[in-house]
Amino acid sequence: MVQYKPTVDRVFVALADPKRRAVLERLGAGSATISELAEPFGMSLTGMKKHIRLLEEAQLVTSEKVGRARRCTLAPFAFQGISTWLQRLDRFAQVVERTKGAR
């Protein structure tokens, strides 16, 4: 559990800033490059890069270099830990139960 606190801290640090929450909201609609993100917020590329770095450290966003641009994507399963998966298996079990006679 030693590693746990820093991860949680980084998430809450990342979410504490309204601009970064707005960036997450924008990325919820699809991936975007740093410059596509910076422009509507009236920010410099350097400023946006810093925000993205914090979001990446919190594992909320991933980015990759595409040509000369860096494309950012919301990490949709950032919060899907093992407990979420176990809940999904419960639903899976319900479907198994409900459909087993039918097939």
Partner: protein, 150 residues
């Protein structure tokens, strides 16, 4: 409901074991049937691809975002190896007669990734914090969906 066991057999893996009260062919088909995927992945899930053979891919859109991966081994109804987001999953369906035991081994590239996945479910405080964040992300995904549909 049957109990689920979660263990960490080594530094890179999480192992989930669970018994289902149904024959093996059926449990395997629920896992791989595109018509049934939305029933356990949740409302609004759309299966875009489900090509169950080695090298085939699967992809579905859920409330949380896109889930995708590639099938590496397909040996119905006993064994499936597939990539799943950032890790590799081996699913073994063991025939116990009227029941089936599923052993799901998730193998991550690093211990840190493994631990991150584990920890989200282990610490109570984190659960509460992250459930709020979860809600936020779901709202974001919902809005994005609304924008696309507008």
């Amino acid at each position: 409901m049957n109990e689920t066991s979660v263990t960490t057999p080594n530094e890179l893996e999480i192992r989930v074991e669970r018994v289902f009260d149904a024959p093996r062919t059926h449990v395997f088909s629920v896992w791989t049937d595109p018509e049934l995927i939305p029933e356990w992945w949740g409302d609004g899930t759309v299966v875009e691809e489900m090509d169950v053979r080695p090298g085939g891919t699967y992809r579905f859109r859920t409330a949380f975002g896109v889930v995708e991966g590639e099938f590496r081994e397909v040996d119905a109804p006993g064994r499936l190896v597939q990539t799943f987001q950032n890790h590799l999953q081996t699913l073994e369906f063991e025939d116990l007669g009227d029941q089936t035991k599923l052993t799901q081994t998730m193998r991550f590239e690093t211990t840190e990734q493994r631990d991150t996945t584990m920890q989200y479910g282990v610490e109570e405080g984190a659960k509460q914090g992250f459930s709020r964040v979860d809600e936020l992300l779901q709202r974001l995904a919902g809005r994005a969906e609304a924008v696309r549909n507008a």
